[in-house]
Amino acid sequence: MWQCLDHVSLGFHHMLDFLLGCCQTKGRKYSRDIEDPETIAHDTSFSVSEVEALYELFKKISSAVIDDGLINKEEFKLALFKNNKKESLFADRVFDLFDIKHNNVLDFGEFARALSVFHPNASVEDKIEFAFQLYDFKQQGFIERSEVKRMVVATLAEAGMNLSDDVIENIIDKTFEEADTKHDGKIDKEEWRSLVQRHPSLLKNMTLPYLKDITTSFPSFVFHSRVEDS
């Protein structure tokens, strides 16, 4: 009988090992819900070390209000404005674009993939696309004049600068004169692309040079690193 029990307990242990094996691999300090850094590195412009360093930043931001390994909108605004009460048209839009799964939180995979577009090595085409989607609030495939006006007013208000309606209309008129080559009151992707090619500075905020130095800004990633030191 004891032999029987031994076999059973051995079987039980094997089963436990198997179950645990699914969720952990040796040496990994990530919870089982975190994507493998190598997968993320493969899908993005980041190296594996950069993904690991980025994870340190993610942990910092995602634990600010609720320590659940996810960034909610409040934590996002806190990181961006040092103030979670600030209402911002743009922060909301950026968050929505990052939130591919549309579940109002950003997991590390979404965070890294979205930030990848901002890497200096990311393709200009990706940046053009992301910027276009950012400004296309209603996601109609084109940027309407009313959307542009809303954004200009919001930007100026944020800076405490309230220009008169005349002046704002004038600014938008001139912009559309140049951008709206088809003269239909909207800026479609093609028109956006050619505008950006004429004015590369429009994509300036689509590149974060800091991403190149992220391994030096967050050096503690080495404690969890799986990368072989060469």
Partner: protein
Amino acid sequence: MLSRLTIFVLAQVHAAEFSFPPWFSHGARSLIERILDPNPRTRITVMQIREDDWFKKNYVPVRLYEDEDANLDDVQAVFDDTEEKYVKEQKEFIETGPSMMNAFNLIALSQGLNLAVLFDRRQDHVKRQTRFISRSEAKEILARIDAAARLMNFKVHTRNFKMRLEELTPGRTGQLSVAIEVFEVAPAFYMVEVRKAFGDILEYHKFYKDLCCHLRGIIWKSADKADDLENAQLMKAEII
């Protein structure tokens, strides 16, 4: 009172007793061994560290305080010009107005669209770039900035509507260098962007406050509400 543990560790340091985790490469080990040499005479120097093969792998030297910004190229060119080249170019110089800022340029200035701050380890959130609106003539703006800068002991280089200001007598924190550009937003509305090119951020912040003091006559609205209030109070004081 030093604990036994501390004494133990100090003894290890003194005797250079340490071991490496198994994943440390050969190159890393050899460099660290040379660094952790208790004898200052035989210990590796910083110069020698820079020559080490393992250290040099993928190493990009850090440039302290310098801000990377592609837009500074033109302004840098002004500074780099030799006199000869400058004189020659003057003759071919065709005057163009300030660059236009269109609606999207303005929108891109919004705080919500500038994710760089996510990586900003500084908790005090001091801005490296500041701007104000002026309703004076573009040329007038340039002239006033030039005058203010000279008063503040800065050398001024101007090309078109871009300026580079350099501190003449660098302080303890190094030389402060500032880039300024004037953009046209709408007729009689100019956006003046002031950006730190090189130097200590707190020195820059002080500089900007002083500059705004000198320029209060031409500043119509500044991005900083506190600045506006200060300006208004100063202007009131002047009238009285």
